[in-house]
């Protein structure tokens, strides 16, 4: 029994070791650069760990062995013309664009020089050479992180080829978002990529970051292991969008760890349309009073997709508010999971914590597992959670049909409305339109 579990991950660790050694061999003169130690520390820790199985409570509903079993290589870039690349952008959105193809940064397609005033972006490599930023980075890495802190974060820090740090100036309110466009083409060799972001919202500033994931080949198989660390200082507001349109055979795991200073706001907007196995962990800890945390999630699972959203909010101090709205549509044999943990600590009086998870399960073989988990230790709080799993309202279908819509037309409209409800919170018209049209396209193909 113990022999088997010790060797359980040995194959995985084997290829990870040789891959890391290849990277180290390529370092040459860079061996003393802080990034080398940064990656090595993560790698060493990774080697001592085990990957989660279904026996682990937090991973009960999501089996990651298919993901872990593969022996990945690093991806290699592919050429895109500007025209081909533009189809992945959002019409009408003026953003700083960073293009990453198969995990490799493409500076030609990016326009990193167009950073708006009040916002600075640098690579993690460069940031680590600055004492203050390095300190902020390590502080974020050391956070508790709830369920978002796991072995995949270490894997990300060991293997990430490009990490970015985005810092705002104090008091800067920046309208223009930073848009990371991740494109995957797939290849003969299964590859993985590790998007990595550190966001630091300085006092009283506000800015938005978008990570969108696209695929040019719907059969492509690859693994995206993303890590985001977010430090929202007092009275700052960070908007974080994750829009996932990966191939139907792709694996995606995202871990986002956030800490919030007093009176700050962290808004996380997530959409999942693609992916074969998708797991999103978001964790936020309140460090000061008056904090607001918003998580919005929408997902549409068809065929045999598996989409898991696991969230954690730590109301560690009084007078904070959180609001989670997750809505999903599942059909065919798809499986959705929502695990929403909220911890309200003993001192966190006057907490307002709301959680809503609604899913439409449209076929006999689709499954939704919803597990709201509220742990409340304070006695003067307002907490509510609602989990509904159901079908479309017959009355609504009848009403629409009585106005001439076909059965299919009525149902599509209602499904789009169901998910659209969440998307309407996404603030930028171009993002809302793009997401709604992607949802529409996927619903029509059904």
């Amino acid at each position: 029994m113990s022999i088997i579990s010790k060797d359980r991950d040995s194959n995985t660790k084997q290829w990870m070791k040789s891959l890391f050694e290849t990277y180290e061999a390529s370092l040459n003169g860079q061996k003393d650069h802080p990034i080398a130690a940064f990656r090595k520390t993560a790698f060493d820790q990774l080697m001592t760990e085990e990957f989660p199985t279904r026996k682990d409570e937090d991973w009960k509903y999501t089996n990651v062995s298919p993901i872990v079993r593969e022996a990945y290589k690093f991806g290699t870039s592919k050429d895109f013309s500007q025209e081909q690349f533009n189809q992945f952008l959002f019409d009408g959105l003026d953003a700083v664009v960073i293009a990453i193809v198969n995990g490799v940064l493409d500076t030609n397609l990016s326009n990193m020089d167009s950073m708006p005033d009040g916002l600075t972006m640098l690579t993690v490599e460069d940031a680590l050479q600055d004492d203050i930023l390095a300190g902020r980075i390590h502080n974020l890495i050391d956070q508790k992180g709830g369920t978002a802190k796991n072995v995949f974060l270490r894997m990300n820090r060991a293997f990430a080829q490009h990490g970015f740090v985005i810092v705002s100036d104090k008091n800067a309110v920046v309208e223009k978002p930073i848009h990371f466009v991740h494109i995957n083409t797939g290849s003969d060799e299964t590859y993985f990529s590790h998007p990595q972001m550190f966001m630091i919202g300085s006092k009283s500033s506000e800015f938005s970051v978008i990570e969108s994931y696209h695929s040019t080949n719907n059969d492509a198989k690859y693994f995206t292991n993303a890590a985001n660390y977010i430090d929202v200082e007092d009275n700052a507001h960070v908007h974080h969008y994750r829009l996932q349109f990966e191939s139907k055979n792709a694996y995606q795991i995202t871990n986002s760890v956030a800490i919030q200073g007093r009176d700050s706001i962290y808004s996380n907007y997530g959409v999942d349309l693609g992916g074969k196995i998708v797991r999103n962990n978001i964790s936020t800890e309140h460090m000061g009073p008056g904090v607001n945390t918003y998580y919005y999630g929408a997902y549409l699972g068809l065929d045999d997709q598996h989409i898991d959203n696991s969230t954690f909010i730590d109301h560690a101090v009084p007078h904070c508010e959180s609001n989670e709205v997750y809505k999903g549509i599942l059909s065919d044999k798809a499986r959705g999971v929502f695990n929403g943990k909220v911890l309200v600590r003993q001192d966190a009086q006057k907490t307002n914590a709301y959680q809503q998870n609604a899913s439409l399960v449209l076929s006999n073989n689709a499954i939704m597992d919803a597990k709201p988990q509220l742990e409340i230790y304070a006695d003067d709080v307002k907490c509510s959670h609602g989990a509904t799993i159901g079908q479309l309202d017959d009355e609504s279908v009848f009403y629409l049909k009585s106005r001439g819509l076909s059965d299919e037309g009525a149902k599509n409209l209602l499904q789009k409305a169901f998910i659209g409800d969440v998307i309407l919170n996404f603030r930028y018209e171009p993002i809302i339109e793009k997401v709604l049209s992607m949802v529409d396209a996927k619903l029509s193909k059904k």
């Binding site: 009848f398 009585s402 001439g404 059965d407 409209l413």
Partner: protein
């Protein structure tokens, strides 16, 4: 336009409509009144196509077609419109989106060319103006947070936009104050034409002061027991339904 012959309808074994006979010609407005439980709403719902009701026997011919053979959406394409008593709220679907889908669904079914978004918007706005409805309401979700009066006005707007051959109003006036009621009546009157018919199901005579009917029928125990012109409505207002019930019971005694 609408020809109902000996229609018998049950629900869960209980007979609600017990042989309805009704003939509505083009351009006519027929009012259907009756005490509670007489089957008024059932008639409207059966015509709309709700499948909870069993049609035991009888025929319904609409514009030459066998209505009972048509699916719910097909009835709309054929030119029938039912203004619901309790319109459902559908959050997330805007009034504009809904109307656009409805217009083009009908046009497609009738093999007419789909209207371009610009044309649709123009059509909707002109009808909204005609009904004195603020265009901003088009961006709101369908019936969400609407007052009773606003919901009924929305039904009228849909009817105006879809331009049906037959409009059935199912107790559209219930729960409305006199001002909202006038607006509803004005909408119907604005749509009256020699090619369009209306069946107005109502419990109260008050609406018929404003939508003057050509014929008034009294529904009781699932049958139309009396028909007349608009003066019948006034008689019912004065005397109530008891005298009709007595008449019917005397006949069957």
């Amino acid at each position: 336009m609408l020809d109902i012959k000996d229609l018998k309808v049950t629900i869960e074994g209980k007979t609600i409509l017990n042989g309805i006979n009704l003939h509505v010609k083009k351009g006519e407005v027929h009012a259907i009144m009756g005490p509670n439980g007489s089957g008024k709403s059932t008639l409207a719902n059966v015509l709309a196509g709700r499948d909870e009701y069993e049609v035991e026997s009888g025929t319904v011919s609409f514009d030459g077609k066998d209505l009972l053979d048509l699916d719910v959406d097909e009835r709309s394409h054929a030119g029938m419109f039912l203004a619901f008593q309790y319109p459902v709220e559908i959050p997330g679907v805007t009034n504009a989106t809904f109307l656009k889908s409805a217009i083009n669904a009908g046009r497609e079914a009738r093999e007419e060319e789909a209207l371009k978004p610009v044309e649709i918007l123009k059509l909707i706005k002109s009808k909204a103006a005609m009904l004195d409805i603020d265009p901003s309401f088009l961006k709101r979700s369908l019936n969400e947070g609407f007052s009773g009066g606003e919901k009924k006005r929305n039904e009228m707007l849909q009817m105006a936009v879809l331009e049906p051959k037959l409009g059935i109003l199912d107790e559209t006036d219930s729960g409305l104050d006199i001002d909202a009621l006038k607006v509803v009546a004005e909408s119907v009157n604005a749509l009256r034409s020699p090619d369009r018919s209306f069946v107005v199901v109502t419990h109260y005579q008050r609406l018929l002061d404003h939508i003057v009917p050509d014929f008034v029928h009294v529904l009781y125990n699932g049958r139309i027991v009396k028909s007349g012109d608009k003066s019948l409505a006034l008689e019912l207002e004065e005397k109530g339904y008891d005298w009709i019930k007595e008449e019917v019971n005397a006949v069957s005694a």
